[in-house]
Amino acid sequence: MKQSLRRIGLVARREFMAAVTNKGFVIGLLLMPAIIALLFAVFPRVLNRNVPAVRGEVAVVDPTGQVAGALRTALTADAITARRRESAMRALQNAPTVVRDAATSPAAIERTVGAAPELTILDRPAGADLQREKQWLTEPVAAGGLRHIALVVVHPDAVVAAGRTEYGSYDLFIPENIDDRLEIELYDAIRESLVAARIRNHNLNREEVEAVMRVRRAASVTVAAGAERQTNIAFNRMLPFVFAGLLVFGVMIGGQTLLTQTVEEKSNRVIEVLLSAVSPIELMAGKILGQMAVSMLVLAIYIGIGLVTLMSFAMIGLLDPLLILYLVVFFLISYLLFAAVFSAVGAAVNEMREAQSLMTPVMLLLMAPWMFATVIGREPNSAFAVALSFIPPVNTFAMMIRLGSATPPPTWQVLLTMIVGLAAACAVTWFAAKVFKVGLLMHGKAPDMATLMRWARQA
C-alpha cells in the first residue's frame, strides 16, 4: 500500500512537472488574462473608431416659442458631453472612485462614445407644411454639406399644460440610417429643454427643483447572521458567472492535458514500459492527481489575481470568502468526474483525432452549464435551478452559480449537491478505470461507445 502510494506520487509529480515546465502552459496561463485585458482595453476603441463625428441640422417647429431656444442650448457640444458624463456617473455609481473618475473624464467619455455631434438648429414657422418638412429629411445632401438629422414638432400644449398636470409632448421625425445613440441624444436634449421651459413658465428655480428631485441611490448592505457586507448589483450579477467560469476552466485545463498526455504515452509506446513498474490504476490515479495539481495552481493564480484586483479597488468586502472554499470543493468533485472520463478516452484511442468523436458528448456536458447560467443566475431558487443542482455532472456548476448569486441556496442543498456529485464521480471513475485498464494496450481500430462498455464489463 505504501509502495503503491509512493508510485502514485511519483507519477503525479512527473505529470505536474511535465505540464508546468511546458512552454505552452506558461503561454496558456498568460493568454487568459491577456484576452480579458484585450477585451476591456482594446475592443471598445476598435469598435468606436467606426462611429463618425456627426455634423448636421435639426429642424424645429415650435408653436410655443419657448422650446427651440432651450433646445439650441441643450444640443451644444458642451451640453451633450455634460449629459453623457452625468449618465456615465449614474451607471458607475457603485464602482470604485478610481474607476469612476477615470471613466467619466471628458477624454474617457469621448473615447468610449465618440466625439459629441455638432448640431445646428433650424427654426421653422409654427404653421409650416409638415409634408414638405418631412421631405426635407430625405433630400440628398451635397458632399461635405450638413446632414438633415431630424424634424422636431413641439405640441402647442407642451410647455403650458391644458389641464392641471397633463402636458403635451412632441413628435420626432428622423431619416433612415440615424445612429441610435444620436437618437437617444436627441430625446435627452428635447426632454431637457421641455423641462427647462416648463420650469421657467412656473417661475420655479431650476436648481431647487433638481435638488428636490435628486436622491442618491444607496449601495445596499447584505446582512447575514453575524456579518454584514457591502452589496454591489453589478458585482453580484457577475459573480456567479465568474465562479462557474473558473470551475469549467479548471476542469478543462486538467482534463485536456490529461487526455493529450495519455494519448501521447500510448502512441509513444511508453505505456508498457510504465506498466512494468506501476499498475494501471496507480498510473491513472497518479495522472489524475498530477493534472489536478496543475489545475489547482492555475485556479490559485487566477483567484489570486482576482483578489488582488478586488483589494486594490477596496472591494474585497463584497466577496464572501466561503465561496472560494465552495469553489475548491466543487472543482475537486467535477474535476474528478471529468478527469476520469478524459483519461479513459485517452487510454481508449490511438491518437487525438480519434478522441474527437468520443470527446464531443463530454465537452457538451461540460459546456451545458453555460446554456443555463443566465436562467439559473436570474432565479437561483427556481425549481429548474434546484433540480439541476442534483443532476450530475452539471450539478456542481449549477450550484456554483446559485452560490454566487444574491440569494444563496440553503445549506442542505449544497451538501446534497456535494454528496450526489461525489457519488457520481466515484461511479464514473470506477467505470473509467476499467476502460483505462483494457484500453491502454489496445491498438488498432478506434473504439466506439459500445466497445468501451464491453471493455468495462470485461475488466
Binding site: 509502495q3 511535465a18 511546458n22 504515452e265 505505456i271 506498466l275
Partner: protein
C-alpha cells in the same frame, strides 16, 4: 532448484484467436532462457501474462515466488517489445524516474545513471532530451531503464529487434553481464541465431504451443549434426569439371557418406545416420587434401523447422517457416 518463474497449463484467447494454449514453463533462478518462435507465435502474450499486464484465462503463474508479478514488480526488469520514452523528457530524468518507480531512492538512481550510460557507450547524454537521440541510442537507454534497479528477474521481449550491429553487440554484452551478476534472464526473439549465441536453454513456441523446451547442450546432442563442410586445398580442382568429378568420387568412396552437394568452391557432405563425425572427418581429410574441414553447427532454425515439419506441414510450409526465422529477417517484424 529454486524457481524464478513458472507457468502451469496457461491458456489465453483473444476473441476467437487462441494466443497461448496449455503453456507449461519452469525457469530456474540464475538461468538464461530464450523464448523463440516466429512472429505471432504467442511469445509477447506469454511475457505480458508473466508481467501481469495481461491475465490468463486459466492456468497458474508464479513469479519470484509470488502469484503475480505485481507483487514483485520492483525485483523485475522488463523491456517490452513496444517500448517508448517520454520524448520531451531528458534522458537522465527519464532513467531516474524509472528507477524511482522501481523502488530506488532518487539519489541512488541519480548516482547510477552516469555510470550506466558510460557503460553502454552513451557518456554524457543525461541532459539531452530523449527525442534528440538516435533510435539505436534510445534502445540502449530503454534497456538501462529496465536494469537500473538491478532486478532479480530480467525479461526482454525482442531486445534486438530494429537494432544496428553495434547496439546488438553492446546489448548482448550487457545482458550477459546482468546474467553474471545473478539475474535470471528470459529473452524472446524471433531471430534464432541470437538465442543460439547467448542462451543456455531455449523454449520454442509455435502457434501458441510449446514445441521444445531444452538446454542448448542437450539440443546439440539430440539433433546430432550429420553435415560436414569440406573445402579442398587444390582450388583449381573444383574449377575444372574433371577435377571436381575426381574429388567427388574420392569423397564418395569413403564409407558412411550419404550424399555430396557441390557448392561454390566447396562441398557439403551429409553423413549416413549413426556414423561418428570425428572419425569421418579424418577419413575424408585423407581422401582429399582439405583447406578447411568443419562439422556444420546445429542451428536452431534447423531444429525448429525439423520439429514443425514433422507435423503435417509440407515442404513449402517449412520453407516459409525457415524464411521467417532466418537470422537477420528483421523485416518480418509485425
Amino acid at each position: 532448484m529454486l524457481t524464478a518463474l513458472a507457468l502451469r497449463n496457461v491458456h489465453k484467447t483473444f476473441g476467437a484467436t487462441v494466443a497461448v494454449e496449455g503453456m507449461d514453463l519452469v525457469v530456474p533462478r540464475g538461468a538464461l532462457y530464450g523464448v523463440i518462435g516466429p512472429n505471432g507465435a504467442g511469445k509477447t502474450t506469454c511475457i505480458r501474462m508473466i508481467m501481469s499486464i495481461l491475465f490468463p484465462d486459466s492456468g497458474e503463474l508464479s513469479v519470484l515466488g509470488h502469484r503475480s508479478a505485481l507483487e514483485a514488480k520492483d525485483r523485475i526488469g522488463y523491456l517490452p517489445e513496444e517500448r517508448g520514452v517520454y520524448r520531451k523528457m531528458k534522458v537522465g530524468a527519464f532513467l531516474i524516474y524509472m528507477g524511482e518507480l522501481k523502488g530506488l531512492a532518487a539519489e541512488d538512481a541519480a548516482a547510477r545513471v552516469p555510470r550506466l550510460l558510460q557503460e553502454v557507450g552513451l557518456p554524457g547524454v543525461e541532459s539531452k532530451r530523449c527525442e534528440d537521440l538516435s533510435k539505436g541510442m534510445l534502445q540502449r537507454v530503454q534497456f538501462l531503464a529496465a536494469v537500473i534497479h538491478q532486478p532479480d528477474l530480467l525479461i526482454l521481449d525482442e531486445p534486438f529487434s530494429g537494432q544496428d550491429p553495434v547496439s546488438v553487440r553492446i546489448l548482448r554484452e550487457h545482458i550477459l553481464k546482468e546474467h553474471r551478476r545473478g539475474a535470471t534472464v528470459l529473452l524472446s526473439t524471433h531471430v534464432m541465431a541470437h538465442a543460439e549465441e547467448m542462451c543456455q536453454h531455449v523454449v520454442m513456441i509455435h502457434q501458441g504451443r510449446k514445441v521444445l523446451d531444452e538446454a542448448m547442450a542437450g539440443l546439440r546432442r539430440q539433433f546430432d549434426p550429420r553435415t560436414i563442410h569440406f573445402e579442398p586445398l587444390d582450388e583449381n580442382a573444383t574449377a575444372s569439371r574433371l577435377g571436381a568429378h575426381a574429388n567427388v568420387s574420392s569423397l564418395s568412396a569413403v564409407g558412411g557418406v550419404e550424399r555430396i552437394e557441390t557448392l561454390d568452391g566447396s562441398y557439403r557432405i551429409t553423413l549416413l545416420p549413426g556414423t561418428d563425425p570425428a572419425a569421418m572427418m579424418s577419413r575424408l581429410a585423407s581422401a582429399v587434401a582439405p583447406a578447411r574441414i568443419e562439422l556444420a553447427r546445429l542451428t536452431l532454425e534447423d531444429v525448429f523447422v525439423r520439429i514443425v515439419a514433422e507435423g503435417s506441414h509440407g515442404k513449402a510450409a517449412s520453407d516459409a517457416l525457415r524464411a521467417s526465422v532466418t537470422a537477420g529477417s528483421e523485416g518480418v517484424l509485425a
